[in-house]
């Protein structure tokens, strides 16, 4: 089985949010709490000795995704073919009825919900529609700094190594997130 995943070069991310806006445009997500890809800011230090980095993070399409196990209605599945974790909106019973079971077990807050009552979970599907046409994900293709890449983990590791740590990212070996980094080192 191929496992698709992300590469993120933290040393290059300028926090421009182009990936996030491109994602919202492509997937027609309104402004608001639903962010398939999120950009977290990490600020450290005291003037004038400062550290600033960004962490762009979507869904890590884990090798052993806890959200799949946590979902009471099997709405979340992991695709055999490419390891992409997808959610079936028809099957999802909604956040209030369910109690955010998927979100609670995800270390990186990938499951996203609108503020509407009992809204269904949605999240990054690695641009399945684009991947099936042989296109790159919209976020990776948007990044003006070429800090994002998406592909099979094998290929990514060959190109970029296999570091699974970065500022603001807490790894979880058990569930094996499909992401590797070029981390920015803190002061």
């Amino acid at each position: 089985m191929t496992q698709m995943g992300f590469y993120f070069d933290q040393t290059r991310c300028t926090g421009c949010f182009t990936c996030a806006v491109a994602c919202k445009d492509w997937h027609d997500t309104p402004a608001g709490p639903i962010n398939w890809i999120r950009i977290n800011t990490i600020e450290k230090g005291k003037f004038p000795n400062l550290f600033l980095s960004y962490l762009a993070i979507a869904c890590n399409h884990c090798a052993d995704p806890p959200c799949v196990k946590a979902c009471p209605t099997s709405a979340i599945t992991k695709r055999e073919k490419d390891g992409i974790v997808i959610v079936d909106g028809e099957k999802c019973i909604g956040k209030d009825e369910c109690g955010f079971k998927c979100l609670k077990v995800c270390p990186w807050e990938a499951p996203q919900f609108s503020i509407e009552l009992n809204s269904k979970m949605e999240k990054c599907d690695l641009c399945l529609d684009r991947l099936e046409k042989g296109q790159q994900t919209i976020c990776a293709e948007a990044c003006p700094m070429y800090a994002l890449d998406v592909g099979s983990m094998e290929q990514l590791q060959e190109k970029y190594g296999n570091i699974v740590e970065a500022e603001g990212f807490l790894n979880n070996d058990k569930i094996k997130p499909s992401i590797i980094f070029t981390p920015k080192r803190s002061i």
């Binding site: 991310c13 182009t18 400062l50």
Partner: protein, 764 residues
């Protein structure tokens, strides 16, 4: 599948190649997916490298086109100016009204009573201000103004030192540097040429040291640079001069270069060493002024002088200050005395244009080179051409203009500065201004919001007889208009655009969708208005495609216009990275600099003739009325800076939800300044001075130097009944004056900050 059949299929999606065209340094590729006449999605350049990838602003454009806030119909004001009350009228009514007012004012007061207020909100060749200017010239002209807020100081310095704006190297040449200094320059947020940040990242990854000098720990400083030097705003000139002091006293200057290519080094040296005014400009002297430690200044000077080739990139922001032109001059001179000009990996600073796609080239496509002939006020009057503005045609050169130098956007005979236009309106000829203004024709600009001293602007705009504007949204300026003509967006028309600094490419903007509602393009508006003004023949009456081809025709580097139109961009093949002044350095006999002396002017003869101590012939550091050490600083102890942020392009795109959520609008303040004022992160605070007061959330952050407050420019002015601006518009607090060399002092304001006492104000 043929087009006709395809259109019938409701799932058929066409991809229209267009581009982003607001007033940033970019111009990027956008590919609009259009289904049933509606844009559904936007992609960017995904073809051959180097790609012209759009930033978040362009990617969010769908929300701008389909915003509920779009102006849909022509509007006539029914409330007070600024109140925002309008009624819908027909185009026929609106244009008749505008035409009759223009003709009435022209008849009654003369053409100089018409003030044309243009702006860079649209950067296309065809739409925006171009057709308006042509139209107004055809009825006898208008009062125009000089000075561009973005870069006037940098432009003046570039012309004084080098005689040209073409002073930049191509971005890929950064990889040839040994050291890069980003001075007051934040390309991660203010897109210059697309790819600038990427080239800087690649340079750093190659091991090239990059240093950022800025009052803010910007995204560029944090991500692209290895080191950040924090500096007190408005004191950059002092640090640059102190660096010259280190270089001169340690004999690190490139003397052969100085001897061969420059004039005036010895005069500058006298000033730097203190022989002129008794004050040696030592790093110790500069430390007190700049807050940059002496040792840091010394090290940077040594690094810069001894790591050739080194690129000192002097951004425009520090030149947007009182005496801003001195900063740019001091930077240019530092490049010159270290011999970092005309070589790969070096950089001349100056205006920093690096390719001629933006320059108005002659019909042969070649510009004359060499030292220029003096063309002073004694030369005989010229005969006006149809495209000339008769109001100030043949007026004598304005005081302090570098009128003997060719090029630039600095019309020598235009006598009112753009940041002085409220005084022009309010005082007129009685106040010594050249005209009595009765009406304003505004296009492509949210003028009230984007220039100094908004509250004075409110008074000025209220005093006019008539205001018309082309607008897309009900922004603060539009609220003051009598007639608003709703303009379409660049997604709804064809145009061609080039980047600010002229990287070697063009963007062709293909119309993606029909104009929404009753909006029209600026060209369409001017065509119809021209007829109502009695204009019989006009370039504007030609078919749109023909006009565009005429406008593009001097650009001889567009070898295949149709290909450009089809693909949405045209990337010009260049053999090697452009390096400014390469041939001037390699073969100076045949390629003198286009200055009066034919050399790089450390001492500028043309400035010297003006005999104005506030524009010295060599760069000098000055304090001023709103500097940190001025008496006013006792009342207003904090320095306000008003840079561009990452989510707007000036005031355009302010109201786009996908962009608004990127970064909430807030005043940045250091924890030391916040705590003594009992301010916590997120509190609502008032930032104020004698010009006005804004109410805004505080972002308490270590990323800003103590003593400095940052309010990113471009947020929309929204006054309450007490004239407190709740929109957080930075220009409520800035000055409506200008520096002798034309710089806009928008980063030179003193302010105080206080926690907003809600109860107190509600009780009033």
């Amino acid at each position: 599948m043929k087009d006709g059949t395809a259109e019938m299929d409701e799932n058929f999606e066409r991809i229209i190649n267009t581009g982003c065209c607001h007033d940033c340094g970019g111009r990027c590729v956008l590919k609009a997916h259009v289904k049933n006449g509606k844009i559904t999605r936007i992609e960017t350049d995904n073809e051959k490298e180097p790609q012209l990838r759009a930033c978040s602003r362009g990617r969010a454009y769908r929300q701008r086109v389909y915003s509920e806030e779009r102006l849909k119909y022509p509007l006539r004001r029914i409330g007070e100016r600024g109140e925002g009350k309008f009624e819908r009228i027909s185009w026929e009514e609106a244009l008749n009204h505008v035409a009759s007012k223009i003709l009435e004012i022209k008849e009654k007061y003369g053409n100089s009573a018409i003030l044309f207020v243009p702006g860079g909100g649209n950067q296309g060749m065809l739409h925006g201000v171009t057709p308006v200017g042509l139209m107004l010239n055809q009825i006898g002209g208008y009062t125009r103004m000089w000075g561009i807020p973005s870069y006037e100081g940098a432009l003046f310095a570039s012309m004084a030192t080098y005689g040209t704006m073409m002073t930049g190297n191509a971005r890929d040449d950064l990889l040839n540097s040994n050291l890069i200094i980003m001075w007051g320059w934040n390309p991660a947020n203010t897109v210059w040429d697309p790819g600038t940040s990427l080239w800087l990242a690649k340079a750093r990854e190659k091991g090239i040291k990059i240093i950022a000098v800025d009052p803010i720990f910007t995204d560029s400083a944090a991500v692209l640079a290895n080191d950040w030097i924090s500096i007190r705003p408005g004191t950059d000139t002092a640090m640059l001069i102190a660096m010259a002091h280190v270089i001169i006293t340690e004999n690190l200057q490139d003397q052969p270069f100085i001897d061969k290519y420059t004039v005036g080094y010895d005069v500058y040296k006298e000033y730097v060493l203190g022989r002129e005014d008794g004050q040696p400009k030592t790093p110790k002297w500069a430390e007190k002024i700049t807050t940059v430690p002496e040792k840091t200044i010394i090290n940077l000077a040594r690094d810069y002088a001894t790591n050739k080739p080194a690129a000192l990139i002097a951004g425009w922001g520090p030149a947007r200050t009182a005496f801003g032109e001195q900063y740019s001059r001091a930077a240019n001179v530092l490049c010159a005395i270290t011999g970092n000009i005309g070589i790969n990996g070096g950089y001349a600073s100056g205006f920093m244009r690096a390719y001629s796609s933006r320059e108005s080239v002659g019909s042969t496509g070649k510009k004359k080179e060499g030292p220029i002939k003096q063309n002073d006020e004694t030369s005989k009057p010229k005969k006006p051409r149809p495209q000339d503005n008769l109001v100030d045609f043949n007026a004598p050169p304005r005081k302090d203009a570098l009128y003997k130098l060719r090029g630039g956007t600095n019309p020598a005979n235009t006598r009112v500065h753009f940041n002085d236009y409220y005084n022009l309106i309010l005082q007129g000829t009685k106040g010594g201004y050249p005209a009595d203004i009765k009406m304003a024709y505004i296009c492509g600009t949210n003028r009230l919001n984007q220039y100094g001293n908004v509250n004075k602007g409110v008074k000025a705009l209220k005093s006019l007889e008539f205001i018309v504007t082309h607008e897309q949204f009900m922004n603060p300026t539009a609220k003051f208009a009598d007639i608003i003509l709703p303009a379409n967006t660049f997604m709804e028309r064809d145009d061609i655009a080039v980047p600010w600094l002229g990287s070697p490419y063009y963007i062709y903007l293909n119309k993606a969708i029909d104009s929404r509602f009753e909006t029209k393009s600026d060209l369409e508006i001017c065509r119809e208005l021209s007829k109502k003004l009695g204009i019989k023949t006009s370039l504007l009456f030609l078919p749109e495609d023909q006009i565009l081809r005429i406008f593009a025709s001097p650009r001889k580097d567009i070898k295949n216009y149709n290909k450009m139109k089809k693909e949405g961009y045209y990337k010009v093949k260049v053999e090697e990275p452009f390096v400014a002044f390469k041939k001037h350095i390699e073969d100076p006999e045949n390629n003198p600099f286009p200055t009066l002396s034919g050399k790089i002017e450390i001492y500028c003869e043309h400035i010297a003739e003006k005999n104005n101590p506030l524009i010295p012939a060599i760069p000098k550091y000055f304090s001023h009325d709103e500097h940190y050490d001025s008496p006013l600083a006792e009342k207003y102890p904090l320095q306000l800076i008003t840079p561009h942020n990452k989510r707007r392009t000036h005031s355009s795109l302010h109201n786009i939800p996908w962009l608004e959520e990127i970064e909430p609008h807030a005043a940045w303040i250091n924890p030391t300044d916040a705590s003594v004022r009992n301010i916590k992160n997120g509190d609502l605070i008032d930032v104020y001075n004698d010009r006005g007061r804004i109410r805004i959330h505080a972002k308490v952050t270590e990323r800003i130097s103590p003593g400095v407050v940052c309010v990113y420019q471009g947020a929309w002015y929204k006054p309450n009944k007490d004239s407190v601006d709740l929109g957080g518009c930075a220009n409520v607090l800035t000055q409506d004056s200008y520096s002798p060399g034309g710089a806009f002092p928008l980063n030179s304001s003193l302010v105080e900050v206080e926690l907003y006492q809600k109860e107190q104000l509600e009780g009033k």
